[in-house]
């Protein structure tokens, strides 16, 4: 009998062309796909490729997305985008998504991810791809230049932390609450260099968009990858998105008896909405613990906070209500497709009727690159993944993180508020 392996080990072994690997092994992995964006992509890697005097190992295996600097707000960002477009053309990259949304959302939406793949992404939230059963890691620009030149990367096979959520999330609760809770409970380096594998009945019940939040914010636990073993929900999504997928997808799960470095179990039914205080996701606590902190801005945006399901959560709260006076609610849908779908099903109208201001798709204020950044001493509640000091604008600005439900409820109340009370009043 071969030794039972974790999902992460199986994926590494496949990419390394080996029958099995063990945590700590350093292996060379063949990359199935490389994802780059306008900020860390062409403007950084092109000079390096030139310096090496090589081309891209396989342009059909590269996806390029503009999202960080879109739409251009000044001459510098316009120049970065111009350079990115020229790179796509010159280097023959067919899968170029210009202003179509945030990379981590565009990639699965357009059928580039499937279980079993090994993917290198030039962005720290590349862990998002793990929601689809792909081993997707974030790397820096120089390393990406190496991947583009060779199609390979060295990896240290990670040990796995297994996190199981039983029960069922209550009304007004979401994957964001789960991840903020985990940041608060386990800390932001619990999974450094490690894989996190998510499982349990509560998570199986979640749609792909919510599973993406788990994998995305595994990065906030320090993880190299955040994996959700594929099931029917995954397969249906991946097929509908048009990705090619092997018939053997069921093998992409941890073997019975596989050795996990740590195992954590939580009950989703007992979870209350979570809010993380400035300046770290680690400062998460139940919404009530923060008191009625008054806010200037509410932000629904980012790869982890403005997918269609996120906008629908906000709309559930905002239908028939108004954003409080003196508060601005900014909504930047995660992708162009999200905008289309939210327009078609009435979600967008529910948001704008309530007074929300619609911003272009892209990273926007999330990393302080685009529209919606904060002034000195302003307070913001945000559905994004990070609230580090100075990230969303001025260094004195204070950013609280919460689910789209809680952000919307707070926008209505004018202060941090529990969405469950409003949902209970909502006539259904």
């Amino acid at each position: 009998m071969p030794t039972p392996q974790t999902l992460a080990e199986k994926l590494c072994a496949k990419a390394a062309g080996r029958a099995s690997v063990r945590p700590g092994d350093i292996v060379t992995a063949k990359v199935d796909l490389a994802m780059i964006h306008d900020s860390a992509g062409p403007r950084r890697v092109e000079p390096m490729l030139k310096q090496l005097g090589v081309g891209i190992w396989d342009p059909t295996r590269v996806v390029l997305v503009t999202d960080h600097y879109t739409p251009a707000v000044d001459a510098e960002s316009a120049a970065i985008l111009d350079l990115t477009r020229k790179f796509a053309k010159a280097r023959g990259i067919e899968a170029f998504y210009d202003m179509q949304g945030i990379c981590h959302v565009v990639l699965p939406e357009r059928g580039h991810l499937a279980p079993g793949m090994f993917v290198a992404g030039g962005d720290s939230h590349s862990t998002t791809g793990g929601a689809f059963g792909a081993f997707m890691i974030g790397i820096g620009a120089t390393e990406m230049a190496g991947v583009l030149a060779t199609g390979e990367i060295w990896v240290r096979v990670p040990a796995t932390i297994h996190i199981e959520w039983s029960g069922r999330l209550g009304r007004g609760l979401s994957a964001k609450d789960i991840m903020l809770f985990l940041c608060g409970r386990l800390g932001m380096d619990v999974a450094n260099y490690k894989a996190v594998e998510f499982d349990g009945a509560a998570l199986r019940a979640l749609p792909m968009s919510e599973r993406m939040v788990l994998a995305n914010m595994a990065a906030e636990l320090g993880a190299k990858v955040g994996l959700v073993p594929p099931d029917r929900v995954t397969v249906d999504y991946v097929r509908a998105a048009g990705a090619r997928m092997g018939a053997d997808w069921e093998r992409w799960r941890s073997d019975p008896g596989a050795a996990f470095e740590a195992e954590h179990r939580f009950d989703a039914s007992a979870l209350a909405p979570q809010v993380a205080a400035p300046h770290s996701p680690e400062n998460a606590a139940e919404v009530a613990a923060h008191g009625k902190v008054a806010i200037d801005q509410a932000y629904i945006g980012a790869c982890t906070g403005a997918k269609l399901s996120d906008l629908r959560m906000a709309a559930e709260i905002l239908r028939g209500r108004k954003v409080a006076k003196g508060v601005r609610l900014l909504v930047a849908p995660a992708s162009a497709r999200t905008t289309q779908e939210a327009a078609a099903d009435g979600t967008l109208a529910a948001l704008t009727d309530a007074g929300a201001i619609l911003l272009p798709s892209g990273c926007g204020a999330c990393a302080g690159y685009g529209a919606g950044v904060l002034a000195e001493n302003e307070v913001c509640i945000s559905a994004t993944a990070r609230n580090f000091k100075g990230r969303m604008g001025h260094a004195t600005a204070r950013v609280y993180l919460a689910s789209p439900y809680t952000v919307a409820a707070s926008a209505v109340a004018g202060h941090i508020a529990d969405p469950r009370a409003m949902l209970a009043e909502t006539v259904r």
Partner: protein
């Protein structure tokens, strides 16, 4: 001297990410210590607690430190992507559980391959994790790009 969880948004603030590295470097760590960039001198080392460099994959966090002449970073632990980025750009980063024992202004000598940091001021040795040989080779070549260029040349020859 910095504490735990120094993140990439304070190392390389988003507001200056569009501009040149020299400008970005002037704002490196300013949210934690406004004097840092002004007072950093070539050869200085940054000493910190656990999970240094957490957050974004932006390599500018390493480049800003290098632009200020920082010779090495010693910390209790590093965030994964920062660690790889630093090695790829040939900025030695050392994992030492005893990083907390260093005081501001101490003179340090780092011997990365052996896993030794000498604190000349306190006359003591700090144990640190040796850097794996394949990474040492890369640092010796000046980082991933020169290392790859050398390999490509060797393959072509």
């Amino acid at each position: 001297m910095f504490g735990d969880n120094v993140d990439t948004d304070v190392l390389a603030p988003g507001l200056y990410m569009k501009g040149p590295i020299a400008e970005l470097a002037r704002h490196c760590l300013e949210a934690l210590d406004p004097r840092f960039a002004r007072e950093a001198r070539p050869g200085d080392m940054v000493v910190a607690g656990s999970n240094f460099g957490m957050g974004s994959s932006r390599e500018q966090a390493v480049m800003a430190l290098k632009a200020l002449g920082i010779a090495a970073v010693v910390a209790k632990s590093f965030a994964r992507i920062f660690y790889r980025n630093a090695m790829n750009l040939a900025l030695p980063v050392l994992v030492s559980a005893e990083a907390g024992a260093v005081a501001a202004g101490d003179r340090l000598v780092v011997r990365a391959g052996e896993g030794v940091i000498e604190n000349l001021t306190q006359r003591r040795r700090l144990a640190c994790e040796p850097i794996p040989p394949h990474l040492l080779a890369m640092i010796a070549d000046g980082g991933l790009l020169p290392h790859l260029a050398k390999k490509l040349r060797a393959a072509g020859a």
